[in-house]
């Protein structure tokens, strides 16, 4: 019971919700990427690998260029490049997209540590100075609003970017011609093709976009939240983002809700020094919570109709 009241006390603090939002943004970026990719009909379970690649190259670039913005661009480029591999393999070569996604994740896990070993040997990778990290920005005026200000307007710059991208992705997917085409390609590629939509180009674009977003999340993790690269530092977050995407039924805002749940679980866990419960059981909480929500509330989620099916022009 004490654990429960500890948690209830936490839930009314602004700092808890501040970190919930910060943690959710980390999951939201790759989840949005997943939504875009799968809406176009390409299954993407490779966010984990793209994030990890982004994290490594963000640190590598920042240590050389001493500029977090350029480093974030490099990370996005690296994530996009990994996505390009996924795109070529699964669109051009029509490989199974799950196989390709798993391969990307294994590839990134191996390549990043291999590179750390080759580039830095047994030395420290190095640390990013605070002045060269992606900064926290307290919006003047707004951040002094009690509670709300701390939660929404005193965040890392990438959190704002993620929230803007959330709205943007929703608008593009559901309110624009481009979004209509993307969804058409994901549901009925043949029909879209007949109507003059370039299926391949849209799919390439969507997959690469997902890589860019995941790469940005990696940069946020490595040079925004942390200040160095540690092997395997994404620690399964790309898979959590995948779960969030499906949980959210392939919609941006649905995925965001799921990200918030995971973020809440993680933020509560961070307070284990003042919660009287086994930290291990506490760690399991967000996952059990998700299971329960899935079982009771969310129900059936089915992907876009052509998700995972390679498109053959004029075929079948």
């Amino acid at each position: 019971m004490t654990a429960l009241s500890d948690i209830l006390h936490l839930l009314i603090t602004a700092s808890l919700w501040q970190s919930v939002l910060a943690l959710s943004a980390l999951l939201l970026l790759p989840a949005l990427g997943g939504v875009i990719s799968e809406r176009s009909g390409v299954v993407n379970i490779a966010m984990e690998g793209m994030m990890l690649t982004g994290a490594f190259f963000a640190v590598y670039a920042d240590l050389h260029l001493h500029n977090p913005w350029l480093a974030a661009l490099v990370a996005m480029f690296a994530g996009g490049l990994m996505a390009l591999i996924h795109a070529v393999v699964s669109i051009r070569f029509r490989a199974d997209q799950i196989v390709s996604g798993i391969a990307i994740n294994i590839f990134a896990a191996g390549l990043t540590v291999f590179l750390v070993n080759r580039v830095y040997g047994l030395q420290d990778v190095g640390h990013i100075n605070t002045s060269e990290s992606l900064p926290n920005i307290a919006l003047p005026g707004l951040s002094s609003i009690p509670f709300v200000g701390q939660v929404f307007f005193d965040q890392n710059v990438i959190v704002y970017v993620a929230l803007i991208l959330l709205v943007l992705t929703h608008i593009v997917l559901f309110r624009t011609r481009l979004g209509l085409r993307i969804r058409a390609v994901g549901e009925h590629p043949q029909a879209a093709d007949t109507a003059g939509v370039n299926v391949f180009r849209l799919r390439y674009g969507a997959v690469i976009t997902s890589g860019i977003l995941s790469g940005l999340a990696g940069a946020y993790l490595a040079i925004g939240i942390s200040n160095t690269f540690v092997p395997n530092m994404t620690d399964g977050r790309g898979y959590i983002a995948l779960a969030a995407m499906i949980f959210g039924k392939w919609t941006p805002f649905g995925a965001f809700v799921a990200c918030l749940i995971f973020g809440l679980g993680e933020a509560i866990y961070y307070n284990n020094s003042i919660i009287h419960a086994s930290p291990y059981l506490l760690s399991a909480l967000p996952y059990l919570l998700t299971l329960i929500v899935l079982a009771g509330v969310v129900g059936r989620s089915s992907p876009p109709a052509a998700d995972g099916i390679p498109y053959v022009a004029g075929g079948e």
Partner: protein, 412 residues
């Protein structure tokens, strides 16, 4: 996800040998491709690929050892790594056939280790004939129940199995930590491990458990190859029989081809989904129990960093979803795992190169790069009656393309 149905083109039956060669060509070619590209990566970062591969070869299969490694030991290490990969590979492959993606082999394996350890510790004084089967069965049952949660949720509420199995993985990892750090399986003291299971609960090794016996120049106890290997092979055989010789297997395959068609054929979707996940979980849970009974003899914190269930996804995919393929793929991955460490200690090249190679193998087999390259060579084009483009592997997950030899014979 990934239910890409490609219609099989009827093809003239090749002689058995020819089929075997053709069947092995793609995987072997993929391995070759991976080693060439991986070698280029090693070379590009300023190291010698030949040194790297000599280490891998030695650590994996005991050949070309430069620094006095014991060949027999390297082979036995590779096999020990392969054993759980076979069972977890089967556990991933079976739901694939039904169009279900079981990312949860890891969690199911951990559930198996927890149950097996609990039984092996708690009933340590039982005789072997009772205790050992009890340990193995409890592991399988725990794995089945763990996966069953995902199956029931999928069948009843439609909750996507990818999400639920990922969640169950994490839940299992944290439950395991709780059990051995401050939880009921932690013996007095401050060690993050369970008490060891009783000696009657252990799977025997093939060699005598006596370090005075010298085999190939080393004490026999060094070779850890245990009878779990037989269990793993039997599991793979059971998988093949289940899939191709039983009505359940027919239903699983029918479900994988098309849910609509399966319903017309009178297949109960709910029942099939649940049963498939239960059986899949049992394979992974059994893998966990075998690891406990055969290798670790107790639950330790090494399971915090276990990745067998994730590696098994790659194994199932590389094995093209067939029993023999999974066994061969597991042996390959086991050899790479074992070889990586020798490569690092002999040549100073990070053992993480192994992951890069595994990924390249997967890319190559999925995309059939080799086929694409071969088709570019003039003169070859006509001889090979390869499908016009794309890959045989396009459908390797669901395997809808490969028409089973006697499908009609087993339909109910």
């Amino acid at each position: 996800m990934g239910t890409g149905a490609v219609v099989a083109r009827p093809r003239r039956r090749l002689p058995v040998i020819g089929r075997l060669v053709r069947g092995l060509a793609a995987p072997l070619g993929s391995v070759l491709f991976a080693f060439v590209v991986g070698g280029a990566i090693v070379f590009a970062t300023g190291a010698n690929p030949l040194d790297a591969y000599q280490g891998l070869l030695c650590g994996g299969v005991g050949l070309a050892c430069a620094q006095g490694e014991n060949s027999a030991l390297q082979i036995s290490n590779s096999i020990v790594y392969a054993i759980p990969l076979i069972m977890c590979g089967v556990s991933v492959a079976l739901p694939f056939r039904a169009g279900l993606f079981n990312i949860g082999a890891e969690g199911q394996l951990l559930a198996g280790t927890m149950a097996a350890t609990a039984v092996g510790v708690h009933f340590a004084e039982w005789p072997t004939v009772v205790l050992l089967p009890a340990v193995l069965i409890s592991g399988a049952v725990a794995g089945a129940l763990w996966a069953g949660i995902a199956g029931v949720l999928k069948a009843t509420t439609g909750a996507h199995e990818v999400v639920t199995t990922i969640m169950l993985n994490y839940a299992a990892q944290w439950l395991l930590r709780y059990l051995i750090i401050g939880g009921p399986l932690q013996p007095p003291g401050e060690f993050s491990a369970s008490a060891p299971i009783g000696s009657n609960a252990r799977l025997p090794t093939f060699l005598p458990n006596d370090s005075a016996v010298i085999v190939f120049g080393l004490p026999a106890t060094v070779y850890r190859v245990h009878t779990g290997l037989i269990i793993a092979i039997v599991a793979a055989a059971v998988f093949a029989v289940l899939l191709w010789r039983t009505s359940l297997g027919y239903e699983i395959r029918a479900l994988g081809q098309s849910q609509k068609a399966a319903r017309y054929a009178g297949v109960s979707m709910r029942r099939t989904i649940i049963v498939t996940m239960l059986i899949a979980g049992a394979f992974s849970g059994l893998a966990g129990a075998v690891q406990i009974a055969g290798v670790d003899h107790g639950m330790t914190d090494k399971y915090f960093s276990d990745t067998t269930g994730f590696d098994a996804i790659a194994v199932a995919l590389l094995g093209l979803g067939s029993a023999l393929g999974i066994v061969l793929a597991a042996v390959l991955f086991g050899a790479l795992h074992s070889g990586g460490a020798v490569m690092q200690s002999d040549a100073g090249i990070s053992s993480n190169l192994v992951l890069v190679l595994q990924a390249l193998i997967l890319f190559s087999i999925a995309a059939n790069f080799l086929g694409a390259i071969v088709r570019q060579i003039p003169g070859v084009r006509g001889r090979r009656s390869a499908p016009p483009s794309g890959a045989p592997a396009t459908a390797l997950v669901t395997e809808s393309a490969t028409a089973p030899p006697d499908e009609s014979a087993v339909s109910t």
